[in-house]
Amino acid sequence: MIVAVELLAACQLAVISALAVVLTCRRIAIARAGRHRQLLLDRYRDAVVEFVGLDDDAPPEPLAGLRTAEQRSAVGELLAEYSGTVRGESRSRVAAFVTDQGYAAAAARDLRARRAWRRGTAAKALGDFGVVASVGELADALRLDASWQVRVSAARAMGRVGHAQATADLVSACAGGSVPAGIVAQALLDIGEEALPWLLGAMASAEQRVRLVACRVVGLIGVGAAEAEVVAALETAATADPEVVVRVAASEALGRVGGLDAALAIAAATADPEAAVRCAACDAAARLAAPETAAAVARALDDGDPEVRRSAARAAVMLGVADGSGSPFMAEAEAELAWGWR
């Protein structure tokens, strides 16, 4: 017994000593590697910034003919960092360059690397490069990769590439729960209007989280050319969805989308049995300031829930509804408006 306890103590001491040594060596190694990497990044940073920022197809001299893997890795990292900050022509030019120079192909190869962090980093780089041809490979990673971090990274990257082709895969990933709903939402938002047709379908999904994501994203993207369909889908969600969170999100989205039909749908949502939905509808009415919501807002001023009355008062002030004047919530809303906050 005593020997066992002594052995245990000795083992623990050995582990602590080993940990201390590893910590020290690792700290020193990281510092050295970091300094070396920083030198490389500093050497090529200006050239990359110049190439990404200027309207010149020919890359600056330092970026051509890089030989060592370290140099290419540093330039790849810088290109990924800066190309994510530009749009349009500049982004297409960077995408063409990284494809031509093999950076995109190297990242695509890394999507099949053994280590998860390499696969995830590769997905991130492909998203930053904005190479449309990589969407298929990213979709494979989104569907099949065993690591959720890599799937998340692939989803984000698909959003940053910004091609409609990615939308269906993203919505499926959200429905299957393989990627968090919020990640999918941001990716769809990055894709923008091109995602609308799939989002309209997603609003009728059996999965609550998919409907929630679709409502939120549609509200932020806007209606594009499909105003009637978008508003009709949001109206159904705001008034008939079984989940409160979806009705709230749909009401908020209607306030952002705007238009006569949206206003009528908002007015209907102010009669929802849940206070949270009535609040969201009144907030949407305040944002929209459409006269069609005035009667519903006036009714909401007498709501049994004080938070609904507060939201209704804010909407009433925006709409110039006289009912409820003299109520403390109206005084509060008028002060907010007078102080320039609404």
């Binding site: 002594e6 938002l189 509060e332 320039g340």
Partner: protein, 475 residues
């Protein structure tokens, strides 16, 4: 007839078994904390937090600052909070019956004026005297209320909150500029699941602080505070990270926690009759969500840092630990009905029983265990060699946990930049096990007996701070 020798011998076996079980639990937590760290390190390479800053999907946050006689630091704290990097947030300062210039200084520095805000006490609180706002800074709201305690002030802030999330923070604490972004990221990613998050609390003693921000991280000069640095790292990076990974986190620090406002209101806000209001709210949220059969997560996020000041005197430390232990006892008493019940999952079956056994009763077993081992040696039941070996295992295992926490810190966060600081922390992890741990066990035991004897109401824990604000000016 059972002899004294038999009792001592038997109790020594109980202590041994208890010690083994506790260490197994810590090892399991360490495993989960390690996995969580690995996940975090991998994610760090794959994404940039700046993405969240531009996201319109980031939920709004109301930062609630309960303040009671905080005239020395309140203006600087509010300025620092208003400078946080986050797309949409407001700051609500609740002065809880302050008798000093807390409100007057805010009025002066932020040009506050009376505002006709309707106070709706969805969660009952002591009366609110007035609400002040500024025409220049629409994100700041100040409420002046009658004294009701910290929990009452937090409830008042929740009643006044306009945003979807509420973040409770101590008036004297300092947040890193990205702390809100990082702590709200789980809400953005899992909007249908995450209901609460807590960041890591670190000790600012010894750090260089300028304009409400920690500019240079350093170890405290006070040995007592430096030992607490190790203690905090271990508590947050192993225990909380481990419990969080299995969704059985029981405590989100009152110094910095973010929750969904609607759910906090639904469960009735913070309890005002306990000194452990922060932990109690978390356990109540677990209970409510599991009673309702809803899928949820309460998560510890290690990257967002809240800096606070550690006691540098034994008297203040004793008071703090006394308050913590009484708070823990109260939480466990309030929620004793959850213990051992399958419907509460790992919270009821593992986390709460483990907390009772190793946190609440830990000092009892530890101190009586030392006595029993000494008695065993005195009665000739245990040899000196065994005694020394057992003590060594106990001390070294504690050190092992602390050093592993340092390794986790090194693997992911690396907030202590100098090698000498790392070496210092390893040394303090030894000091913590010899003397400090036993001393705090004595205080915790006293607190436990107090909790059993009397009922304390929630109040503002008196903490004689040396003052981060003074450090700011000095820095």
């Amino acid at each position: 007839m059972i002899s004294v020798e038999q009792v001592v011998y038997g109790y020594n076996h109980v202590v041994l078994a208890y010690f083994a079980l506790m260490n197994v639990m810590y090892l399991v937590l360490l495993y989960h904390a390690g996995r969580a760290t690995l996940d975090r390190v991998q994610r760090g390479r794959m994404e940039a937090i700046a993405d969240l800053l531009r996201s319109p999907l980031a939920p709004g946050v109301t930062v609630i600052v309960p303040a009671h006689n905080e005239q020395e630091c309140i203006v600087e704290s509010v300025r620092s909070l208003l400078a946080l990097r986050y797309p949409r947030f407001q700051v609500v300062v609740v002065s809880d019956g302050s008798t000093d210039e807390t409100v007057a200084r805010l009025e002066r520095d932020f040009a506050l004026e009376a505002f006709p805000r309707v106070y709706v006490p969805g969660i009952p609180t002591a009366p609110v005297r007035r609400v002040l706002r500024s025409r220049e800074e629409s994100r700041l709201l100040v409420a002046e209320k009658m004294n009701g305690g910290k929990a009452d002030a937090l409830n008042c802030g929740i009643n006044l909150a306009d945003e979807e999330l509420v973040c409770a923070i101590d008036a004297d604490a300092i947040l890193d500029a990205d702390a809100l972004l990082l702590s709200c990221r789980p809400f953005v990613e899992h909007p249908d699941e995450v209901i609460g998050t807590g960041g890591i609390v670190r000790l600012a003693n010894g750090c260089r602080i300028e304009q409400g921000r920690v500019e240079e991280v350093a170890l405290p000069r006070s040995r007592l505070a430096a030992i607490q640095v190790v203690e905090y790292l271990r508590a947050f990076l192993t225990a909380r990270a481990g419990w969080s990974r299995v969704n059985a986190l029981l405590i989100v620090s009152g110094a910095f926690g973010v929750f969904r406002r609607d759910l906090v209101r639904q469960v009735g806000g913070y309890r005002v009759d306990t000194v452990g209001e922060d932990g109690e709210l978390v356990v109540r949220l677990h209970r409510a969500m599991r009673d309702a059969g809803r899928r949820y997560r309460i998560t510890f996020v290690p990257d967002p840092v809240c800096w606070t000041e550690a006691p540098e005197s034994l008297a203040v430390l004793r008071r703090q630990r006394n308050r913590w232990q009484r708070g823990l006892a109260e939480i466990l008493w309030f929620h004793r009905g959850m213990v051992g019940r399958g419907r509460y999952g790992l919270v009821g079956l593992v986390a709460l029983p483990a907390t009772i056994a190793f946190e609440l009763l830990g000092p009892v077993v530890e101190l009586t265990g030392i006595g029993a081992v000494a008695a065993g040696w005195y009665l000739g039941l245990l040899s000196v060699r065994f005694l020394v070996a057992f003590m060594l295992v106990s001390v070294v295992f504690g050190m092992f946990l602390s050093v592993t926490a340092l390794a986790l810190e090194e693997a992911s966060l690396r907030r202590y930049p100098k090698l000498s600081q790392l070496a210092g922390l390893v040394m303090y992890s030894l000091l913590e096990q010899v003397g400090y741990r036993q001393l705090t066990a004595v205080w915790r035991l006293r607190a436990l007996t107090q909790a059993l004897r009397s009922k304390h109401r929630g109040h503002w824990g008196a903490m004689d701070r040396r003052g981060l604000v003074r450090s700011r000016h000095a820095g």
